[in-house]
């Protein structure tokens, strides 16, 4: 009970603010960095910022749907890791050194 009371005492907006900060860090990182692995981690950061928002709203609106959606995000993120890491590995394997996202550019028009 105590725990619940303690948690409810923190306003929902704080959580949302943290999520927004996290998302912004992820987005900026994704756009500004060239290292594929770092960009990948930024994507994870953005996903988790969204997850946090979902959970917060689920709590604030007393709707379990938000929490359920988080599970979907987790599953998709897991699948993304599987595929994404495989791509990253193949990018690194093809380059001698200093492989960046920009070195995979043969599909340019």
């Amino acid at each position: 009970m105590n725990l619940v009371a303690a948690t409810t005492s923190v306003p929902g907006a704080w959580y949302l603010a943290v999520a927004a900060v996290l998302f912004t860090i992820g987005a900026v990182g994704l756009l500004s960095r060239r290292n594929v692995l770092v960009m990948f981690m930024c994507v994870e950061l953005m996903l988790n910022a969204v997850n946090l928002t979902f959970v917060t709203f689920a709590r604030m609106l007393d709707d379990i749907g938000g929490q359920v959606l988080v599970f979907f995000t987790l599953v998709v993120a897991a699948a993304e890791v599987v595929v994404g890491l495989a791509i990253i590995v193949s990018i690194f394997r093809g380059r001698v050194e200093g492989a960046t996202a920009d070195s995979a550019n043969i599909l340019k028009g």
Binding site: A27, L30, L31, D102, A104, N105, I106, L107, K108, G109
Partner: protein, 645 residues
């Protein structure tokens, strides 16, 4: 017997179906025998129907046999029905009768042709179509036959399509006939829109009730006449008929002399009730076109050298007589002349075919001469045809032509004079041809020097003209008999001897023209005969007796030899502009505008693509920026909307 009337068209159709699928296997000469037998059987049925009708009287003489409903389509209901009345059975009698003779003749004439069986396929299809045209009980069944004979005409004119001239003659006939058919179709649309039916009986009932406006009836009559002009080779749509002589001679005899080209006259006679409610000017147009064509074609025939072209122009001229008769209200005389003309013109064409056959495909009458010695049977039969067309009594042509002249005299003296002058010309040009072919010097024989030069065994020297085989001369003899006594079907002495007139009475053809008194009648007949003899005498004098080359050349002015240059005129006015227009459409409009539009569209897409491909940089960060930017825009939009609300 009347119930069996459907057999008349069905038998040639059966022959067509058998020959089209098994003709090649049946082969020569049985394919020809089968074709002839089918038409012959059809003739026997027609004779049976004729006698059955003859035993009836008045209204009973018109019998309609509905086979099935052909087109049940809304307000338009057309039956496949056969109308057996004196008019249609008269037509059917000579179509099947002469058709049989010509089929028999063709067995001999087409001997050795590699497409022997196919010839009879077309011929049987033609007879079927012609019978559908004649026996149909509505404008649409008539039109079915009308187009059927047109198609067969095309197929048979270009039967020897390896020859360029034959192929293009076929096309010419087809295209020129389309112009006429257009008029016929417009007439049918008009009649249907006014009367709501295309069946003769309903339409004529409607006309008799006075429900056609005068304008509508006049327009319908004139449009139908346009169709008749095309099919019956009248001015100005006649140009295809002389060229149609490229077809085998039996075709010229059957289709382009005896039967198909008379379809226009039949149509004009059939729609007599419509003419009654139309303006009298409609009939005047028919009469004048007929008289002008008769005169025009007769002058051209005087200067032609091809034995078949002379006959072709002569056919046009005689068809002009028939239209003249229709135009002056003498429908019976038109039908009478149609029948006798079918006899003697089929005879002359078949005779010409026999001459061509005997002369080894020589058609120029200037290269013939004295053939009476080599081809006695052809000579005798041709003699009968010549006298018949020249209007010498008692041969068939005299009686029918005299009827027409009499009717023209009663109606309009100018028309009569034109017809009379045509009669002199007819006698003249037929005599010219007759003397050149059968009398005089044997111009095909080479003199001693030439023989010595090319050797006595050369084909040109060795092959003398020869008489044709019996399959060819037997029909000639039969037709000569008909051309001799054919006039007996309508002798003008008194009402009793006018058999054809009485027989056709029950069909509403309008009264036979009241005959002038005895003295005038015999006087006019005497004038006609004397003038005919004058024509013969002129021909005899210049082409046989004096044989003076300069006088002969004066009688054949270049203008007439070129047939007034009408072909050249048509090609200058219609063909050349058409060709230029087509060339412009093909090489300018199509290349520049159509192709330009298509290629231009391609270029635009290609250019735009070239520019837009730059967006695809290949850098993930650019795409990510795009997604982020898009996201920001969407959010901004959503917020703005939320703000407004």
């Amino acid at each position: 017997m009347l119930e069996l009337v459907w057999l008349i068209p069905a038998l040639p159709l059966l022959g067509f179906l058998i020959l089209v699928f098994g003709g090649k296997r049946i082969g020569e000469p049985n394919a020809g025998r089968l074709g002839a037998a089918m038409v012959g059987a059809s003739f026997l049925v027609t004779v049976g129907v004729f006698f059955d009708l003859l035993s009836r009287h008045g209204e009973q003489r018109s019998f309609t046999r509905v086979l099935f409903t052909w087109l049940p389509s809304g307000g338009l209901k057309v039956n496949a029905a056969i109308l057996a009345d004196p008019l249609s059975i008269t037509m059917a009698l000579f179509v099947t009768g002469i058709g049989t003779l010509i089929h028999i003749y063709a067995i001999g004439y087409m001997h050795g042709d590699e497409r022997f069986a196919r010839f009879f396929v077309y011929m049987n299809l033609f007879v079927f179509s012609m019978l559908a045209l004649i026996l149909g009980d509505s404008f649409l069944t008539m039109f079915l036959g009308w187009e059927g004979v047109g198609a067969c005409s095309y197929l048979l004119i270009s039967f020897w399509f390896e020859r360029d001239s034959a192929a293009s003659a076929g096309k010419k006939a087809f295209v020129v006939n389309r112009v006429g058919d257009f008029g016929l179709m417009m007439a049918m649309f008009l009649i249907f829109s006014k009367a709501g039916s295309l069946t003769y009986a309903n339409v004529f009932e409607f006309a008799k009730a006075g429900s056609f406006t005068r304008t509508a009836a006049t327009a319908a009559c004139l449009l139908l006449f346009v169709g008749a002009i095309g099919k019956s080779a009248q001015l100005p749509l006649y140009v295809w008929l002389p060229d149609a002589m490229e077809g085998p001679t039996p075709v010229s005899a059957l289709i382009h002399a005896a039967t198909m080209v008379t379809a226009g006259v039949y149509l004009m006679v059939r729609i007599h009730p419509l003419f009654l409610v139309a303006s009298p000017n409609a009939l005047h147009v028919v009469a004048w076109v007929g008289a002008l064509t008769a005169l025009f074609a007769a002058t051209i025939a005087c200067a032609q050298d091809d034995i078949k072209r002379v006959l072709a122009y002569s056919t046009m001229s005689q068809l002009g007589y028939m239209f003249l008769a229709v135009g002056v209200g003498a429908n019976t005389a038109a039908i009478f002349h149609m029948v006798t003309h079918a006899f003697f013109k089929a005879l002359m064409f078949l005779g010409a075919g026999s001459v061509i056959h005997g002369m080894h495909d020589e058609q120029n009458i200037k290269k013939m001469g004295n053939l009476r010695k080599w081809m006695p049977i052809t000579f005798i039969t041709y003699l009968v045809g010549w006298l018949a067309i020249a209007g010498i009594p008692p041969f068939a042509g005299f009686w029918s032509k005299d009827d027409i002249l009499l009717a023209a005299y009663r109606d309009n003296k100018v028309l009569w004079l034109m017809a009379l002058f045509t009669a002199i010309l007819t006698a003249y040009y037929m005599s010219r041809q007759f003397f050149l072919v059968f009398f005089g010097k044997e111009r095909f024989l080479h003199d001693a020097q030439t023989v010595a030069a090319i050797g006595p065994n050369d084909a040109h020297v060795r092959d003398h003209p020869h008489e044709s085989p019996p399959t060819m001369w037997l029909p000639l003899v039969a037709l000569a008999g008909l051309a001799l006594v054919g006039g007996a079907i309508n002798l003008p002495f008194n009402a009793k001897t006018e058999f054809l007139g009485k027989w056709l009475e029950s069909v509403d053809l309008g009264g036979r023209p009241i005959l002038a008194g005895g003295a005038l009648k015999y006087g006019l007949a005497a004038v006609t005969v004397v003038l005919g003899l004058v024509g013969v005498a002129i021909a005899y004098n210049f082409w046989l007796r004096t044989n003076d080359a300069r006088a002969q050349a004066a009688l054949e002015p270049a203008l007439l030899q070129r047939a007034y240059g009408v072909d050249g005129l048509y090609s200058a006015v219609i063909e050349t502009p058409g060709r230029l227009l087509s060339a412009w459409l093909a090489f300018v409009f199509d290349r520049k505008i159509i192709d330009g539009a298509v290629n231009g569209l391609g270029l635009v897409v290609r250019f735009a693509g070239g520019k837009l491909r730059k967006l695809q940089t290949g850098y993930v960060r650019n795409y990510a920026l795009g997604i982020a930017g898009g996201m920001v825009l969407l959010l901004a939009y959503a917020l703005a909307r939320a703000g407004i609300q």
